[in-house]
């Protein structure tokens, strides 16, 4: 078997199994840990697709930033010395009905459509260099606005989360 295919199945199993545990486990910390595995799996797919820069950014931003924030959230919103952080389900039946319909539509269209590309073209010019050039030429404005959005979001988050003093 092709090495790529073996790696693909390996990452697929990691991603899907851990994603399943994220939404089903009752322990919030286990969910966070499984989300970390999912993010790793997705990073693996990015590497397989030749987007190694995006894969590393995925690890730095998602695993090193967002998920840590989430874990902090878990620790700050529970009795923290209690290692059993449980959480239940609600609206199971209507929720699953909606999901079922949605999944049917999504996967149905996916399998029915004919994708024109059979084999990938040569991977786009050196990921990092290409993205860097685009960010500094065509997409400069969006890049700057994104920076402003991040800054505003962080200031806003800090002011919301701060204790209101009387």
């Amino acid at each position: 078997m092709d090495l790529y295919l073996i790696l693909f199945y390996f990452f697929a199993i990691i991603t899907l199994v851990s994603a399943f545990f994220v939404v089903t486990t009752r322990n919030v910390i286990y969910a966070a840990f499984n989300l970390m595995l999912t993010l790793f799996g997705v990073a693996g797919f990015y590497v397989l697709l030749g987007a190694d820069f995006i894969a590393i950014v995925q690890l730095i931003v998602y695993v090193g930033g967002i998920l840590i924030l989430l874990i902090f959230g878990v620790m700050l919103t529970n009795k923290i010395t209690d290692t059993d952080i449980k959480s239940g389900f609600l609206n199971r039946v209507p929720g699953l009905l909606i999901v079922g319909t949605f999944a049917g539509i999504l996967i149905g269209t996916l399998l029915k459509s004919t994708w024109r590309i059979a084999a990938p073209l040569p991977p786009p010019v050196a990921g990092l260099v290409g993205i860097g050039n685009l960010l500094m030429t065509e997409y400069t404005l969006i890049f700057e606005i994104l920076g402003a959005v991040l800054l505003i979001a962080l200031i806003g988050a800090a002011s919301i989360a701060r204790k209101q003093s009387n």
């Binding site: 994603a19 994220v22 939404v23 209507p94 909606i98 994708w115 990938p120 685009l134």
Partner: protein
Amino acid sequence: MIPLPYYLLISAFMFIMGVIGVLTRKNAIIVFMSIELMLNAANLSFVAFSSFLGNIYGQLFVFFVMAVAAAEAAVGLAIIISIFRNKATVNLDEINLLKW
């Protein structure tokens, strides 16, 4: 080489699991994680298309999505924490001030 629909299927399954989490979980933080799952599913599709079209714009868009996801995580968690401070819970069924 792995055909494109394989990646799309994985991405679809991830997205569906994200939807399940958002619709059925009680804890606001797990709902949050499910949203991240859905964002990741979309990102995977973007990168897959980008690679199969030999075009870098998809990767660039993923970069933007990640930045927005980071902003979203920060603000969302701030909101969750301030709700927790007022109501001492993050269970979504107990946060029902708008119900009448």
